[in-house]
Symmetry: C4
């Protein structure tokens, strides 16, 4: 059986897209009008700051998750390329719902804006599942990763779309609550990361070869 | 005979350009006016979503193709640098016809917009041929790549400009059909990729050294 | 004890964010109105040039500092990922206060604009301290780095928030002086860099293994 | 004597900045008004296409030159970091004079626009000299590079600011001629590149160790 290709270039490309998407977020915060004074103008941008912070942290966490996920992978395949590409599509899309959120969080349209924002992440969370499925079905998981670890990650990945869907529906009635559910997912992702880091550590104790040094 | 230089830095630069071009696409989708409600405003952006999706997938496929192509290459030369640079020029140009497409797909000017969009890819497809020609003529193909593989890739590359030209001409009369021909090329490129992946796999069975590990 | 993970991918991602943030700064300088002639329009943009130059140099220095800091680190941990992410947040934010500075440096609102600009770097300097604390507390410092070197870096890091806070307060009364304090910090950071370079050189004399070649 | 640090991370950062600056150029070409038809609108953008093409090729050539230059370098120093950073500053600045050129090439202000554009490259060419001086004075040139090669590169670098200054002065009277001088420099840089490539090839024939594989 031929060895699958290394993940190096797909990681470099993905890192580039994550880095650019996270940095473009700031372009959505525009210089405020200062007719009531610059302090007032800067303060009035609070929805932009919230939207920026929320999206920055989410993309950062997803970059870390992507990093963790690729450490479980022993190589790449063609379907993996496209599932990963689809994931990157949902990441590069984030600045748009972020701008919508920033423009409408302080208005009566906040319900629609938050629902649209959360809905974007329903799609994103589904694509994470697709990517994971592609990895597992394509036999790309490193042999030293246990079935238990895979089952644990899968369970966490299943939870994603459901919680984001809940946030979307709730946002249509209570936008602030919808947004808070979204924020609460930071904790889920970070804890998932810690758990998989634990697994990776264990793996390293067996002195297994690493793709990158 | 001196060994040609490794492809590492040209890949890193190209990856950067592909990653940025694909991520800048989202900047063309602007926050909609919400005078008829935000949902209505978001729905009215459908041409932007189509243009974004189409260009994202095309750039993604081209990145994968570029990746595949460089795996056939044993080194770089000065003409290769500039042919590759010209290719990157046509990639960085994509956000502009994408914005044209988004702005005019739902208007009577759709014919011009789709023709301009498809015409951009006629040029792009010609430059792919130039790059491939530079590689083959410059003796940069890895020795283990068979003449059959090269002939297969060349045939596929020849088809590109012709199909895009067809799409451009058709678009002037039937913009939707022109756009659909463009979309149908996704399949061509992806299949070409699968085929060359097969060749690369075969090559690896001979345990040849790889530029990147 | 298991070896901590290499810093390679976190460096690549951070480099990407630094490179993008520093390059986006130019987007804030817009083509001037030329009703009084183009030379006059170009000259009237002087606050934009100052803001661009100031922010470019600061981000450049911080990239170098980040580089130096990561050379003291033997690996990464999960808290490190997030402290580093928070640092990147404050870096990607820079184009916004830069635009504020450019828009208001020549107006009566200059006080607010400079204070906001300097205030941003108070937060940034605090996050540098957090990152350094995460590294030291997480046991990520290379064993060959002496306690003296660590104490020296920490002292310099402590000074950052205080000087930026001073600049912020002064700016509320004398914006130009506030800005000049900010500029004077270039010297501090650069000298800090030189000092740590000296230490790194010493380290290399012991022929220690390097993460990157 | 301790070995100077490898150029790997400074190359990665520089590549990022070059790649982003070259890709941002397209953002300056805006969707045209189509009141006289979209074809007419697209045609009226001819100054934007010329400015885009000119700046794209110049940045591409400079990226290749940077690449060639760093192959002559055996390591980096702290002054090198800042001279390189200053060079990157002049590269990231390019989208601004490009936008000025695009906005005014077809107007009576073309003289000022072309002179400003060319003047930018006077500064850029001076910084190339500074960077080269930093390398030579800092003892960072690889020992196998001959004094002849260094003298040849220096001569070419000296020519840069003079020709760009000529282009700037000429542009104030004959903008088209100024721009053509600018274009003619493509040839100079490319030939310089070929020449230094020849030198690098020779060097490789001695089977010297390479920083990057």
């Amino acid at each position: 059986m031929s060895a699958p290709e290394s993940t190096a270039r797909v990681e470099a490309f993905s890192d580039g897209v994550f880095a650019i998407a996270i940095t473009l977020l700031i372009l959505e915060i525009r210089v405020p009008h200062a007719e009531h004074g610059l302090w007032a103008g800067l303060l009035a941008l609070w929805p932009s700051y919230i939207a920026f912070l929320q999206s920055f942290v989410v993309i950062l966490i997803m970059w870390v998750s992507h990093h963790e996920l690729l450490q479980m992978v022993r190589g790449v395949s063609y379907p993996f390329f496209f599932a990963n590409g689809l994931l990157l599509l949902t990441i590069t899309f984030v600045p748009f719902p972020t701008a919508i959120l920033a423009a409408h969080l302080g208005t009566p349209e906040a319900k629609v804006a938050v629902a649209f924002y959360c809905g974007t992440f329903v799609v994103n969370a589904l694509v994470w599942n697709l990517l994971f499925w592609t990895i597992v079905r394509g036999g790309l998981v490193r042999p030293e990763i246990s079935a238990d670890t895979i089952a644990g990650v899968r369970k966490a990945y299943y939870a994603g779309p459901l919680v984001y869907l809940l946030a979307t529906v709730v946002a249509l009635f209570q936008p602030i609550v919808g947004l808070l559910i979204n924020v609460s997912l930071w904790v889920v992702w970070v804890r998932l990361g810690y758990r998989s880091e634990g697994k990776v550590r264990e793996r390293e104790d067996f002195s297994l070869p690493r793709t990158r040094g």
